[in-house]
């Protein structure tokens, strides 16, 4: 072995230089070892060759060739670089975030607000629109709709049986009829919600009862038996104290005893999850539960039942729909539908849908619109939050310029630096998502309390959970958002400007550019938050307009209580007697001015419309397609509710069942039906043309009242006496001297004195009674308002940040100005003026944007235009004031600059 006396310096050899160069792309952790290995091999080989005196050009070329192979070696090591650096980035990112806890906290809170709002709205949307039933393989389930699917029932019982027997695409088909039931609880009774279901209901859904059993197919054989029932888990736990021996005990439902055969599992609420069912009865009990539907089970045109089927495996929903529709056509051909006046051309085709969310197509459509609106709103909030964080990052990257310049100078690539910063953004995004989930949990709790004030037994089960799909959404959102707020600052910060940064120069030109970027962000923030606020303002103004509107009746000092007499075993005679006695008793109560009965009240949950025609001649074209509300009222109704009679007379006790049929109409109907003549004395025909009901003579005209706020076509109303037309649904209306709440107990007592079993819990003031009408608008105003304020808060924090930064950057300049004699006032104006410019720009852009954007709100608004000047002006003023405050705080700090200190600054 020879000592290398003739050894030239190691790196003079060109192939060694090549290794050195290629080594640059080897991951840093491995680089030294890698270079050493190659250098040692090449060095050793060269030495051997020299020793053997064979260092000719051929061998040198071979060494060259071999060192080129090092490139492939280095390439192979690239994936390790990614792994390495990712961890490095993460570690570094965590360190940076911990080093600036203030920055991290603000950024995380800001992101949490944006992400939390979005997560909450997503979980709401998920529950309303997408969540499937909590049963095994819900994706196989299909529900039946017919045509437009507005009514609750889709099939009649005979059709259901035929469809179930003849189809070859479903492994099972179950039917269900929703109804209110009265639960006899000792001496009192209350209204609960029930489903009358076919014998295979639980089998089709694959629901295993928690206790006992479901129904058996043979329990669907004979009408009127057997009196068995399954109760919901919730009812069992809350009302029966989870009695473990409940099976085979009896429960009174609609005055008949049923024996409990099963308890449904926890979490199963029936086929419409959001409207939970308490009791399930066999549908063969329908005649007992509701005597008026006695013949319905054998009538193929009474579409009382919702149907839910389970697809055979491998059968698509499209194929199943086609197959079922074929059977449906055959059924229609065999027994054609009676042509009603209104629905001759009714679409009777069967449509299948997977049961999701609300499960009722008409509600689902509305929910979809509301969800879209809310998503736009929270999306804007999130954008504002992102702009804020982007601004923070830009500010911080200015502070980190030196660090970045050092890394650039030491050979870090721009890509690598940008990736590092994006990693930090991702960390921030994930932290924000974590905090956002917590926030969403609270928002969800609040949203769950905002249930619509639906009356009676109709429960509403809005269960907002942070389940897997919500978590997935949040995670995805966090990543998207990180990219959104992180990308621009990362690219801007990693721009190589090494020399000025290292020399600690402020680099006026670049900073100016960055300030412009920040300014642009703030202006767009202000603009979109103005749009949000204007949308909120429009909702609030609409609500005001709505509440200001004269409904045509008085709501003050009035109370209302609804009854459904049918399930309580009342026939017509008994019902009339009950109504008469109750009104008599209530009128006698001290503090009662007037009392009456009606089948339903305007602006409530219920509404009945009827076909109305002028007897003996054609209806004027103007009056066709008019939805005419038909109310049945007791004596003294107009005086009790405070609607003035315009002409003619009110009903009197003489308008009895045996007297000629009479009717009162409102002004709108009078104008439409009898444009140029006096309606009094004319006769109206109710129901379809085929009906042989006695025509009613018009005896009076009353002032218009609002039946529904949202439907402008619903203005025509007819009134007929309850004495001539019985109703099983009754609403007691009482006009009191003072606060109606004081009379609740007395009215309840009066009801109970007549019938202990009659549920009388749902007593309300008339204001509460009609609250349902305002509910959508109230929700709109509250939610959009809350998110609008959140947006404003975020945007003004953003403006504050930018102005603080501007003040800090201009400290030197301000010092000079003050040293040259500028007053505090001048300095204040200098800064506030700068902020004002941004604000005015933002407001201007926001107003223009809002003019275009609010047009989509048209359908949600009431009584105002989408460009309501009061809203636009008021909100713009509010925004400007808040923005000025955000500018004024840093400006005041600027005035306190000490020129001596400031001049030494930088």
């Amino acid at each position: 072995m020879q000592t290398s006396s003739n050894n030239s310096p190691r790196f003079s050899k060109p192939y060694l230089a090549l290794i050195l160069m290629i080594g640059v792309i080897v991951p840093r952790r491995l680089r030294a070892d890698w270079r050493q290995e190659w250098e040692a091999e090449l060095g050793h080989r060269e030495m051997l060759l020299a020793e053997w005196d064979k260092l000719n050009w051929q061998n040198k070329l071979d060494l060259w060739w071999r060192s080129l192979g090092a490139f492939w070696d280095a390439l192979l090591l690239q994936p390790r670089r990614m792994e390495d650096e990712m961890f490095q980035d993460l570690r570094y990112g965590c360190r940076m975030l911990l080093k600036n806890p203030g920055f991290t906290l603000i950024a995380v809170i800001t992101l949490a607000l944006g992400i939390g709002a979005n997560t909450a709205i997503f979980s709401l949307t998920n529950a309303l629109l997408f969540r499937s039933l909590p049963v095994p393989q819900p994706e196989q389930l299909v529900t039946f709709n017919r045509g437009e699917g507005v009514s609750l029932g889709a099939v009649s019982y005979p059709d259901f049986v035929a469809l179930r027997e003849r189809n070859e695409v479903l492994s099972g088909l179950a039917a269900s009829h929703f109804t209110e039931l009265s639960f006899g609880n000792g001496s009192r009774s209350e209204v609960v919600s029930g489903e009358l279901v076919s014998g295979d209901y639980f089998d089709v859904l694959r629901v295993q009862p928690a206790l006992g059993r479901g129904f058996l197919p043979e329990e669907e054989r004979t009408f009127g038996s057997p009196p068995v029932m399954v109760i919901s888990h919730g009812f069992w736990r809350s009302r029966l104290n989870g009695d473990p021996n409940i099976i085979n005990q009896t429960i009174t439902v609609n005055r008949q005893k049923y024996s409990v055969v099963g308890v449904a599992p926890a979490g199963f609420n029936g086929i419409r999850e959001m409207f939970p069912t308490d009791f399930w009865l066999p549908l063969t009990m329908l005649p007992q539960v509701n005597p008026t539907l006695q013949t319905s089970l054998s009538n193929r045109h009474d579409q009382l039942f919702a149907a839910i089927g389970r697809l055979k495996s491998g059968v698509s929903i499209v194929r199943a729909q086609a197959a079922l529709e074929t059977i449906n056509r055959q059924l229609d051909l065999a027994d054609p539908p009676v042509s009603h006046q209104r629905n001759v051309n009714e679409d009777r085709s069967i449509k299948l849908e997977h049961p999701q969310g609300l499960g009722i197509p008409s509600l689902q459509r509305r929910a979809k619109i509301a969800a879209t609106l809310l998503f736009v709103v929270v999306g804007i909030v999130l954008l504002i939050a992102c702009a804020n964080v982007a601004n923070l990052l830009l500010t911080r990257s200015t502070a980190r310029r030196k660090e970045i310049a050092v890394r650039l100078a030491l050979g870090a690539s721009r890509f690598r630096l940008a990736r590092q910063m994006l990693t930090e953004s991702l960390l921030l995004g994930l932290l924000g998502a974590g905090a956002g989930l917590l926030l969403a949990f609270w928002i969800n709790r609040a949203l769950m309390t905002l249930k619509p004030p639906v009356p009676g037994a109709v429960g509403f089960n809005l269960d907002l959970r942070l389940d897997a799909s919500v978590l997935g959404f949040t995670l995805l959102l966090a990543m998207l958002v990180s990219l959104l707020f992180g990308l621009v600052p990362a690219l801007a910060a990693s721009k190589p400007e090494v020399v000025p940064a290292l020399k600690d120069e402020t680099g006026a030109a670049t900073k100016h550019g960055r300030l412009n970027l920040r300014n642009a962000l703030v202006v767009s923030q202000l603009a979109v938050s103005l749009v949000l606020l204007i949308a909120a303002g429009l909702f609030i103004r609409s609500l005001q307009q709505m509440q200001k509107i004269d409904p045509g009746f008085q709501t003050e000092n009035r109370l209302a209580l609804s009854f459904y007499l049918e399930p309580q075993g009342y026939d017509e005679a008994k019902g009339r007697e009950f109504a008469r006695q109750l009104v008599e008793r209530v009128r006698a109560l001290p503090g009662v001015q007037a009392a009456t009965m009606a089948n339903y009240l305007p602006m409530g949950f219920m509404l009945l419309t009827e076909e109305v025609a002028i007897d003996g001649r054609a209806t004027p074209p103007d009056a066709r397609n008019l939805n005419i509300a038909a109310q049945l009222i007791g004596l003294d109704y107009f005086r009790t509710i405070g609607t003035p009679l315009v002409r003619g007379r009110d009903f009197t006790p003489q308008d009895s069942a045996n007297a000629p049929a009479v009717a009162i109409i409102n002004e709108t109907l009078a104008r439409r039906f009898f444009p140029n003549e006096d309606p009094i004395g004319k006769r109206l025909r109710f129901g379809d043309a085929a009906s042989n009901a006695q025509p009613c003579e018009i005896v009076g005209i009353v002032k218009d009242t609002l039946i529904r706020l949202d439907d402008q076509r619903l203005r025509a109303v007819t009134y007929r006496p309850l004495a001539q037309q019985h109703s099983q649904r009754m609403t007691l209306l009482v006009h009191t001297d003072g606060n109606p709440n004081a009379l609740f107990a007395a009215v309840r007592q009066a009801v109970q004195a007549l019938d202990e079993n009659l549920p009388a819990q749902d007593i309300k003031t008339l204001d509460e009674f009609i609250a349902f009408t305002f509910w959508p608008m109230q929700m709109g105003a509250r939610l959009v308002g809350a998110f609008g304020l959140l947006g404003l808060l975020l945007a003004s924090v953003g403006l504050y940040g930018v102005m603080s930064y501007a003040v800090a950057a201009r400290t030197h300049e301000i010092g000079v100005r003050m040293a040259l004699g500028a007053e505090q006032r001048d300095v204040l104006w200098l800064i506030v003026g700068q902020g004002l410019n941004l604000t005015l720009l933002g407001t201007g852009a926001g107003l223009a944007l809002a003019l275009a954007a609010t047009r989509v709100l048209q359908r949600f608004l009431f009584g105002i235009g989408t460009t309501d000047p009061i809203t636009f002006f008021g909100v713009a003023l509010l925004l400007t004031l808040v923005a000025l405050l955000a500018c004024w705080l840093p400006a005041r700090r600027a005035t306190q600059v000490d020129p001596l200190v400031a001049l030494r600054h930088d």
């Binding site: 072995m1 290398s4 190691r10 290995e37 040692a40 060095g43 071999r66 492939w72 070696d73």
Partner: protein, 108 residues
């Protein structure tokens, strides 16, 4: 690289290591494979646990005024793998001949 399957090049390299060629360049010489194949293959074999690498003693390198060389040797798994690969690539048997010319440097 899969646990139960070696590329032909990798099997040849294992065989060379088994025959006593321990350095990258020696393996290239004996197998005729280019450096762009031998080194990546060695790294993969090392990752898979069939081969381990060590640095030679510093003193030897110092004598020759170059950095210490890295040498590779078979692990037990590598030997098992080689046996399996041998049965797969019959022709390797022919290349399996006793080594006469050991590398010059020893590793003490």
């Amino acid at each position: 690289m899969g646990k139960s399957f070696l590329s032909f090049a990798a099997a040849v390299i294992l065989q060379a290591l088994d025959n006593g060629y321990q350095y990258g360049f020696d393996i290239m010489d004996i197998t005729g494979l280019p450096s762009g194949t031998v080194y990546p293959a060695l790294r993969r074999l090392e990752d898979a646990g069939y081969v381990r690498s060590k640095w030679e003693k510093h003193s030897i390198a110092q004598e020759e005024a170059r950095p210490p060389r890295k040498y590779y040797e078979l692990t037990r798994e590598g030997r098992d793998m080689l046996a399996e690969a041998r049965s797969r690539y019959r022709m390797l048997e022919q290349a399996q001949e006793p080594k006469t010319d050991k590398p010059k440097t020893s590793r003490a």
